[in-house]
């Protein structure tokens, strides 16, 4: 039987989708009996999904921050890249 400690640890260490089937079963069995862990599990999965969705948006260039590389920095970098050539 899984202890609360083991559940908490495995949820902090691995993305829930990456847990092997055997582990998932152990988790599920514990979760069915323990309300604290089942809520924790839900929170962990939700935050992992949020983080994953955010990382994908960022990779696609959909950041909400309107940050742009300042023009003077761009000019400086262009000069430097030319010098390396």
């Amino acid at each position: 039987m899984w202890t609360c400690k083991r559940v908490a640890k495995s949820l902090a260490e691995t993305h829930y989708k990456g847990l092997p089937g055997r582990k998932r079963l152990g988790l599920k069995a514990h979760m069915a009996l323990c309300l604290v862990c089942s809520r924790y599990h839900k929170d962990a999965m939700l935050m992992q999904d949020c983080a994953k969705a955010l990382a994908e948006r960022e990779q696609a260039g959909n950041c909400q921050l309107p940050a742009r590389l300042p023009e003077d920095a761009k000019e400086r970098m262009k000069r430097q890249l030319r010098d390396v050539d």
Binding site: Q64, L69, K74, L81, D85
Partner: protein
Amino acid sequence: METKSPNPELWVDEYGDYLYRYAVHRLRDPIVAEDAVQETFLAGIKGLDGYNGQVDVRFWLRGILRNKIIDHFRKSARETPLEDVEEYEMPDTFLMKYSGIPTRTPLPWKFDPRKSFEDVEFWKIFESCTAKLPERLRQAFTLKELEGVSSQETCEVLGISPNNLWVMIHRSRKHLKQCLEKNWGELNR
């Protein structure tokens, strides 16, 4: 996606903003972010022989920048030792504080964030919530959850024990949940 042949002269105009945004997000300091982007371009030119054309140049450069960001975290962790866990000011029990074991039942979510994934405003709030995390928590969350770095490597980069990491990840999730409930959930039920 079509793969363009790498032409360093055009990199700054084509990928500068994209890389800079990523760097600002991760490093939270415009000057440091600028340096990281510059180093990335230079490393890209020097490592051009290693580019095999299998991924878009944009993602190849992003990969280089990712390593620069991780190096930056490693360096800053060496310079500033881990703050006392007490400083995180979370109303935890003793067990939660020192070992990450939940002892109180978390409250159910007042809304389902997954239903807001298509909403641009939600991500603005989410990003501002991650930016508000205490720095070390933010770094742990960023490496582990956003960058998908393994637990072992995250501990090595941040100079912390697996137990520290585990508590920090729990704590960052809790911070984010509270922040989202407050700034998004209450307005969008």
